[in-house]
Amino acid sequence: MRMIFFATVFALVASASAFAQDADAETRAIVDTYMAHYSAAEFEAMAPYMAEDVVFSDPTATGLGETGLLHHGRDPIMIALQEFATQYNPIGLNFEWDTVFESNDRYVFMGRVNATYPTDQDGMVFRWSAAQTTVIHMRDGLVVEQFDFADYEGAEQGLVPVE
């Protein structure tokens, strides 16, 4: 009887562990897809991954007061992103992450942003490049918080050939 009990407990623990690993992998895949859309400046495709009460913050953004850039809620965030896309037509943000880790549902991406924009010069784009870290906080498979930190004042920018 005791062996059956232990076997049952073991099976339950193993099952729970496997479930947790599956859930972690699934969440990581969601985060990677979300960040791929962000990197490609596919802003509309990001919306389904955001919780309704998502917070989007960039406290390093300059010229916007002490809090920097701060939006509460999916709809205001999407409006801001769509306005930006309409006005400036970014080609992509082209992130390059050299360190990525997860802890306590926070997915941390450390590296650079290489935002590109069209120009009227054939074969050239305008590139704005800076150190950046993005932290994505996930809950129930949705983004509930995004922090961006970028080196605006140390950014490199100029025309570069289209890759």
Binding site: F84, E102, V135, Y152
Partner: protein, 154 residues
């Protein structure tokens, strides 16, 4: 969201902004002084940079099994008591990138922690230090606890 800010840079197309990054601002001096005191575990100096409203937080510590209380302290006494409880000799940062925006410095890299029992661990980390009027407003860490590497003593 760097997007709007990137747009601003794109619109004004200024190429002289790097000169700002090379100045040592008062905020950078305060943030560096705080981080130096933290690395040396010099709590006398650290206390001079703290106020009762200062916060020290690491959201990646919340809810971790076997971790103990989460890192989320407010006020000089609470922060110093919290850091002291780790039993560190020192915490030595290696920076991959350091950058700042007004009142805020971002330290991106890893931290080699030496405990008083001699154990040493290297943690990938990003620390965002916010300061105001010569004092710490917030020390915010995101730490790769699971990605820590143990460093053998020589």
């Amino acid at each position: 969201m760097k997007l709007i800010q990137a747009a601003v840079f794109f619109c004004i197309a200024t190429f002289g902004s790097n000169s700002f990054a090379q100045e040592v601002t008062p905020a950078r001096q305060t943030a560096d002084a705080w981080l130096a005191a933290y690395q040396a575990q010099d709590f006398d100096v650290a206390r001079t940079l703290l106020t009762e409203a200062s916060t020290f937080i690491d959201p990646t510590s919340f809810g971790r099994e076997g971790f103990g209380d989460p890192i989320n302290w407010t006020g000089a006494d609470s922060i110093i008591a919290g850091i002291s409880s780790w039993g560190l000799d020192e915490a030595e940062y290696t920076f991959n990138r350091v950058y700042e925006s007004p009142g805020r410095v971002v330290y991106d890299g890893s931290v080699l922690v030496t405990y008083q029992n001699g154990a040493r661990f290297n943690y990938p980390i990003i620390s965002i230090v916010t300061v105001e009027n010569g004092h710490l407003v917030e020390h915010r860490d995101y730490t790769d606890f699971d990605g820590a590497t143990r460093i053998d003593n020589q």
